[in-house]
């Protein structure tokens, strides 16, 4: 593992992670109707911290591989849409637009996972928890939208 490379990829994750700090849940989210299986708020930053360490590690591994063109392209897409989701959901409170963003994010994470797996087994494995978590987050985004689209809270 090239640690300089790891920290460069971690910096990219830091851009995405900063949205979670700056656009935090707050009153609006707390007041929304949520499904029974919604994880408690503290679970999200803990999970994302672990996931970002995995993502940076996997990115650094694949960056060093030859023939990584598509894998690095998909990586760029997922980090951009990961950074985009939080401001759209928690900043703008646009649950439907956030659903579109997270759908694109899911496809990008899936494509990154598959292309990483092809190049390096460990990098592929490191992306699997991320794919699972984005699946859960997408389901939560969908349910929150469904339960609140006619609710009194529209902003």
């Amino acid at each position: 593992m090239d640690w300089t490379l790891f920290f460069i990829f971690l910096a990219a994750c830091g851009g995405a992670a900063a949205t979670g700090v700056m656009f935090s849940p707050g009153q609006w989210y707390d007041a929304l109707e949520k499904p029974a299986w919604t994880p408690p708020n503290w679970v999200f930053p803990v999970t994302w911290t672990v996931l970002y360490l995995f993502i940076a590690n996997a990115g650094a591994r694949i960056a060093s591989e030859p023939a990584n063109a598509y894998a690095m392209g998909f990586f760029a897409v997922q980090i951009a849409f990961n950074t985009l989701w939080t401001p759209v959901f928690f900043g703008l409170h646009k649950m439907k637009a956030a659903l579109v963003v997270i759908a694109i994010l899911w496809v990008a994470v899936f494509a990154t996972t598959v292309s990483f797996w092809d190049l390096d087994f460990i990098a592929g494995i490191l992306f699997v928890p991320y794919l699972i978590w984005v699946s859960i987050a997408a389901a939560l985004n969908f349910e929150v939208w469904r339960l609140n689209r006619r609710g009194p809270i529209t902003t």
Copy 2:
């Protein structure tokens, strides 16, 4: 040029570009004190459209190069911080935090430009207008913060 690869990198730029559509200037920005050299609002989306085409083109060129590890790492950092800046400035109206974000973005774009240049002359050239534009945007962010930090508009 591998066009599939170009469109994957363009999708990553699309994540960053979406912030410009969703977090638009509006009344808050219009009411701020701005330096005399501030470009008119219409210049920004036009410039960014051209820049994103250049960025995607350069990214696709470098992704196909061998030994692109650092270059692709820096690319990931710049696309994440590019996506982050608009929600922080236009969404949260946090001019000082946005200044920190754009400073990191500038370093990331500079590092990407240098590392791209080393691998492929054309890819390096394609990043130069982006570096110039982020320099202008950073100067504007600084000036807007300086001129308005004691102003009546604080949110």
